[in-house]
Amino acid sequence: MSAPTAQRPETALAKEVAAAPRPTLGRRIMTTIGVQNISLLIAIVALVAVIGSQNPLFFGIDNVRVIGTAVAVSGLLAVVQTVVIIMGALDISVGSIAGLASVTSAMIFTVAGPLLGVVGALGLGLLCGLVNGCIIVFGRVNPVIATLATLAAYKGVAQLVSDGRAQGYTGADGFFVFLARGTLVGIPSLIWVLIVLAVLMHVVLRYTSIGRNIYAVGGNDVASRLAGININRYILGVYMMTGAVAAIAGILITARTGSGQPVSGSEGLELESITAAALGGAALKGGKGTIMGTILAVILLGILTNGMTLLDVNAFWQNVAKGGLLVVAVIIQQLRSGERRIGLPA
């Protein structure tokens, strides 16, 4: 049989497609950064202008470093939380894992040196992530409940191993001191850790089949499975990765405070990371989000906190302002997308 339509004349549609104008440079930059991110950028610029006009010290290189190091820990968690959210899940236990890793890294370090301290904490993080993943995949427990439960459990374990006390002293160790205060090419090592991880995740998500499949699983897990993706493996893998990165965050907490903290410094990081990811445009239903957006959100939140403290805003007003600005930032972002104002936004 002859394919009856093979020689079809060009239709209007084909022409239409062909005639689509080449995007201008401005448009191309726009699409690379993304519309959502542009609103974040605008928000950041506005905030910087306001704060800087009140106190020019804000622009000091020192202060930029302060902001960078202040957001490093929560930024790490926000980056991995973004990956988890893109996959359509959530990890509420990241803070607890960080605490557990912080205290164990310091304890192992005390008896066996920094290398084993780091390796041990990372291993523990991977294990915690694996446990999360297994509870979810094989126990069929909703990710929120599962990680809420392990939030409590890992925290308990951290307290048990440390008897609730800060453990060890890493302030005299070269490696930990470098992590806490060292710089490379003028950039503090804490910030480097965040940059390296963020770039890595960005590349994985955008340019590898692994990343693509994570988006697919989050977008429609049934379809992904039928298209040959081993979705269980992805869920386990992402949770393990998250556990490992949370452990890195824990090691950074140890380095910064000079001792292993079972709870202090890591409580509440889960909400912070979710806030940053969502503000950065990750949809909690899965399938959507970018590392770029999350990093911009982390920066925005970091500047906000730093600026308000710098301007000596009372802590209570800081809460109000933070909540208010968060809402405004997201509203601007959403209204730009021109969505209809009906029902629950994704």
Binding site: V73, G164, Y169, R256, T257, S264, G265
Partner: protein, 316 residues
């Protein structure tokens, strides 16, 4: 400390046999309170035939009420409580008195509805602050700094009333000791963790560029060490920092390692001792009818690099 009998103490008579004492603590997962519970347990073991039930209340006033109800329902023989918020004192005392169970406050004073204080063991927040402020003033004066190029950084969780009492106490004692020409104070609102103190202090240090010398105190050791670390990270020499910690469990780490540090001193309160004292008094009341001493003030000490070990600070 006086010898009058506290109002709640008359509730129960002598009792023999096995005793159960409830020790309810705010922030029971913090090192100081863990120590306190350990002290109470040790005293219980020493006294013999005493069971001790330790309950962590977190910072939750509502949970405190629930847990008081709960231990009353379990018919414990005595209640020792560290309240998360002193305003709940009347409710707590009322509940225990109604059930005929003797109650005693530990670490934070509580009053009943008429304003009468319950028996107390420990060292209250204002007194802690006073000790810190006095030490800071002493170090400030001996450093010979001028008020104009010195700032006081006071880091604490601002919605926690006990924190407010501590830093207010420090401020009062400091100004009293230094006089009118005291350096100005910058409050830093934190979540009581060392990392947050570091982050927030970073911004404050930026805002106060040009300041030469710094005095640091806070609601706990986390706050104080966090701020000192931020100062040192921003290039301030340890010699230009007078940090007075509260608790000594983190400040001791620098000292143990022999580091040059801005953490110059710290107030050490032995939680173990408070726990022992509180439990011993309570058992004395229930078993022998010995009235609770209205106030047993805990042994405290200002420690520094030279004497922390001798004073009994345990550094993990």
């Amino acid at each position: 400390s006086g010898q009058e009998t506290a109002p709640a103490a008359s509730a129960a008579g002598p009792k023999s046999g096995k005793l159960t004492i409830a020790y309810l603590q705010k922030q029971g997962d913090q090192q100081y309170f863990v120590d306190e519970a350990d002290g109470a347990k040790a005293a219980a073991a020493e006294l013999g035939d005493v069971d001790i039930k330790v309950v962590n209340l977190g910072t939750d006033a509502n949970k405190a009420i629930s847990e008081v109800d709960s231990v009353i329902a379990q018919k414990v023989d005595g209640i020792i409580i560290v309240v998360p918020d002193q305003q709940i004192g009347p409710q707590v005392i009322q509940a225990a008195t109604a059930a005929g169970i003797p109650i005693m406050a530990s670490d934070d004073v509580i009053k009943d509805a008429s304003g009468a204080e319950a028996a107390f063991a420990g060292f209250d927040g204002t007194a802690m602050g006073n000790a810190v402020g006095t030490k800071a003033a002493e170090l400030y004066k001996s450093a010979g700094w001028s008020a104009a190029d010195t700032r006081i950084l006071s880091a604490y969780k601002q919605d926690l009333s006990v924190c407010g009492q501590r830093v207010d106490g420090a401020k009062d004692a400091f100004t009293k000791a230094v006089g009118s020409d005291a350096p100005s104070i910058v409050d830093i609102g934190t979540d009581n963790s060392a990392t947050d103190a570091q982050n927030k202090a970073g911004a404050v240090i930026t805002a106060n560029a040009g300041v030469k010398n710094w005095i640091v105190w806070g609601c706990n050791d986390e706050n104080e060490t966090g701020v000192v670390t931020a100062l040192q990270n921003s290039g301030v020499a340890p010699a230009s920092i007078v940090g007075v910690g509260l608790g000594a469990y983190l400040t001791c780490k620098d000292w143990a390692a022999g580091q040059q540090t801005g953490n110059k001193a710290a107030l050490f309160i032995s939680g173990v001792e408070v726990g022992k004292a509180a439990l011993t008094s309570m058992v004395g009341l229930v078993r022998d009818g010995t009235p609770l001493p209205a106030k047993s003030i805990a042994k405290t000490a200002i420690v520094d690099q030279s004497n922390w070990q001798a004073e009994g600070v345990v550094c993990t």
